[in-house]
């Protein structure tokens, strides 16, 4: 067996994995224009709970508790706080992903896209995913302190405000397109 054999077989194996991964998600997908009307509250839902989360993760709270409560209770509180931090981090990621999805819809529905922006977003998304997982594992292992999640929330909320405007325009254009399609149908044209 030559080196080429292993090289090409490995390459085909890799391509097969990539293909299967991407094929399974292109089934029964809704076109972007019809998805654009999703409520644009993304990035806001979890922001409402920020003061409570901040309070739950406050160091002073923990110090106060450790002086007055038993070790078992302190341990339980620590565990619960960690799960709260993890849950909040996951929720923020969910919000962020939905915002990213909208950003991709905007790109798909734009008459021109810049390769630089697209690749930059791809790179940053990969980096975010990597760092998010690292923080999550650190939190799970109990190595990391409660992260400063407020800054994270600000980023998400700022982005969602600008996207709201874009989504409004998108909705108006989708409605105009639907009207155009129905008028074409009335004239007996096949636009199925």
């Amino acid at each position: 067996m030559s080196l080429f054999f292993y090289l090409f077989s490995g390459l085909i194996g890799l391509l097969l994995i990539l293909f299967l991964w991407s094929v399974r998600s292109t089934r029964r997908r809704v076109p972007p224009s019809t998805r654009a009307g999703v409520p644009d509250e993304c990035g806001r839902r979890n922001m409402a709970y920020l003061p409570q989360i901040r309070q739950a993760l406050a160091k002073t709270d923990y110090e106060f508790l450790s002086k007055r409560a038993s070790r078992e209770i302190v341990r339980r509180v620590r565990r619960e706080r960690r799960s709260v931090a993890l849950g909040y981090l996951a929720a923020l990621r969910g919000d962020f992903q939905s915002l990213l999805r909208m950003a991709r819809v905007i790109a798909a529905l734009s008459p021109e896209v810049a390769a630089v922006h697209e690749f930059e977003r791809l790179r940053l998304t990969a980096k975010f995913a990597w760092q998010y997982e690292m923080i999550r594992w650190k939190l799970l292992a109990g190595f990391a302190p409660g992260p400063r999640l407020d800054g994270l929330s600000d980023l998400v909320s700022g982005l969602s405000v600008r996207l709201e405007t874009a989504m409004k325009e998108l909705g108006e254009r989708a409605a105009a397109a639907a009207e155009l399609a129905s008028s074409m149908n009335r004239r007996g044209l096949d636009v199925a």
């Binding site: 080429f4 054999f5 090409f8 077989s9 390459l11 085909i12 391509l15 097969l16 990539l18 293909f19 991964w21 991407s22 094929v23 292109t26 089934r27 997908r29 809704v30 076109p31 972007p32 962020f96 950003a103 991709r104 905007i106 790109a107 798909a108 529905l109 734009s110 008459p111 021109e112 896209v113 810049a114 390769a115 922006h117 697209e118 930059e120 977003r121 940053l124 980096k127 975010f128 760092q131 923080i135 650190k138 990391a144 302190p145 992260p147 400063r148 994270l152 980023l155 982005l159 600008r162 996207l163 874009a166 325009e169 998108l170 254009r173 105009a176 397109a177 096949d190 636009v191 199925a192």
Partner: protein
């Protein structure tokens, strides 16, 4: 060995029958207008089968004339296949003007790179030129199709089931062709009868998939999505990227608290 040859002949007959059926189906459902390059490709493949059948009757299977005709017609078939794949890419991404402008450059660029790579890695051995070129082109088709699906996945684009099935058929066949060519090169002629057989089986599976894909009349044209004004993208894309960058820096500070702020 004789059983393999007999089974191969039977498969070949089935393939020619399915090719003819596919052509008839495309014409009957008037899908040849929606997929003109795909129709041309199937027609070329069908004609190749006929030409090969005649050449094997006139000369022996492994005669130099038959081999020359086989590889010569294979070049035309692969060219047709590449055009059909390009048509599929256009059909999936073409509706999204911005994405298509980015995608076609990437697809062509990667196709050229993969082709050069495949030829370079084969060492430009002239005795195996036809085989290497065939493998290079098939690998190019495979990569282009993977990229097409990755694009569709990333931008969450809708894909017609028929187009999807056609693409899967092309991918399936090209994958097997690359593996087969590589195995044939490694084991040379010892593997030749089995190589033909496996190649035919892969093509048969693709043909079945394509027949199923075009069994219904395809829509005349799909309505283009309502596009946003260019200023929306220009305003939002850099801002989104900036915020992502800030977010990454923020995560980095959480990961490494001792790192200095920029």
């Amino acid at each position: 060995m004789n059983e393999i040859v007999a089974f191969g002949k039977m498969l070949w007959g089935l393939i020619v029958f399915l090719e003819a059926g596919l052509l008839a189906l495309l014409l009957y459902r008037k899908n040849h207008r929606k997929f003109p390059f795909f129709f041309t490709y199937v027609l070329i493949a069908f004609l190749q089968s006929v030409v090969l059948m005649v050449s094997y009757r006139l000369w022996a299977f492994s005669s130099s004339n038959a081999v020359r005709i086989g590889w010569g017609t294979q070049g035309i078939v692969i060219l047709g296949r590449m055009l059909a794949v390009a048509e599929i890419c256009r059909r999936v991404l073409g509706r999204y003007r911005g994405i298509w402008a980015l995608a076609w450059r990437m697809l062509v660029g990667s196709a050229v790179l993969v082709l050069l790579y495949a030829l370079a890695i084969a060492g430009f051995e002239w005795q195996l030129l036809a085989l290497n070129a065939d493998r290079g082109l098939e690998l190019t088709i495979t990569v282009v199709l993977v990229m097409l699906f990755l694009f569709a996945h990333y931008y969450e684009l809708a894909m017609d089931p028929a187009v999807r099935s056609l693409a899967i058929g092309f991918f399936l066949y090209s994958c097997f062709a690359v593996l087969n060519d590589t195995i044939l090169e490694s084991w040379k002629y010892r593997y030749a009868p089995l190589w033909n057989l496996v190649g035919m089986l892969a093509y048969l599976a693709s043909l079945l998939l394509w027949n199923w894909a075009v069994r219904k009349k395809q829509p005349e044209f799909t309505l283009e999505p309502a596009l946003l004004s260019q200023c929306v993208y220009q305003a939002l894309a850099p801002e989104i990227n900036l915020r992502l960058k800030l977010l990454n820096e923020h995560l980095n500070r959480i990961l490494c608290p001792e790192a200095r702020r920029p």
